[in-house]
Amino acid sequence: MTHLELENLASEYLEGQLDAVRRVQVEEHLRECGPCRGLVSDLQHVMELCHSAEDLEPAPWLIAKIMRATVGERKPTFREQLAAFLRPATEPRLAYAVAMAVFSFSIIVNAAGLNLRKLTLADLNPRTWVYQANRTGHLLYARAEKFYYDLRVVYEIESRFRQLRSEPSQQEPETPKPEAPAGGSTDRNLPGAAQLASVERLTTAAASSMGRAAKVADKGRSSSP
């Protein structure tokens, strides 16, 4: 194969478009000929340079410019107008805003004690809303207070009972049982007796605190119409 023949076949060789016989001939020539190897290498470099060249972006207004030059100012179709009108509604922030509005409205309705199924004209008066919200707040406060007192009393009684159960078992092995003196009962001097007396006192205190809490709750209720 001559240098000129190789030069003519160089592109087809690099693109893999030569038949097997021609390809072998070209490869044999390239093994022996340094300048032709250089030529094929340069050609490969050019092809790589071209393939690595990225497309340029036309100016963003070019399409609009061509549209004006060909069809003129295009009037948007009804569909496009509708889509443009509804575009803000598809944005997530609108969905968040609607969700927050519904949430706030439900809180207000609950606090005002409104029944949406049986709505009267008086229910729409802001003074009624304020009154209802105030009443709901007081009721909530009274219930919470009652719950707190009940819990405290129950806890105290439980702890005293626990103390009572544990004390005799600790004292029995240490102190021998005293003999009963003649002439009367000594029940009051028994170690458990004093504790039982204190439980009684506590129960009385619990009853009075429950009574107090109930009064507070009644006061909250009595403020309602």
Binding site: S11, D42, L43, A53, P58, L62, I66, M67, A69
Partner: protein, 197 residues
Amino acid sequence: MEHDPELMRRCLAGDDSAWEALLRVHTRKIYNLCYRFTGRPGEAEDLTQEVFIKIFQTLKTFDAAQGAFPTWLARVARNHLVDHYRRTKKDRVTSSLEDEPGGLEEKPSPTVEPVAQVESRERKELLQQALDRLSPDLREAVVLRDLQDLDYGEIAQVLGVPAGTVKSRINRGRLELARVIKRMEGMRGPAKAGSRS
């Protein structure tokens, strides 16, 4: 995305949105073809617009049996570019000394390293300047094959020459381009020439 035949059918029925869709699909390709021929972004924009005006006016003459729409579009663009080349040959000779080199007006990408950006820009400028020095016949063959990725059959249709001539022009164009690039790299300095390996 709708296919060209469907968009063409709607275009011919007077649907402007179909024409806009066609423009969105093909403008970039035609703009790049024009840019590779002129080397000037502004001129390439004007030529792209002129090509599409011509396409819009002759849309009815398109015959799908003679080739796909992109091939027809490339043929119309190529003929327009050749006309433009002939028309402006005299002006180009007189103004070539005054013109600044066809700048590649690209926005720097924030994600690419500055050194890589400079190298990429230099490679693009080198390629464009080398393409500008080729004869139109060879340039169009190389551009259609290596930059527009058309196959030999499509290029033959666009240029209106036999496939053998296309092969020969592409090979000669590449060889000429390789010589020009080598010469330019030699002029820029051995360091840059060595950086390609």
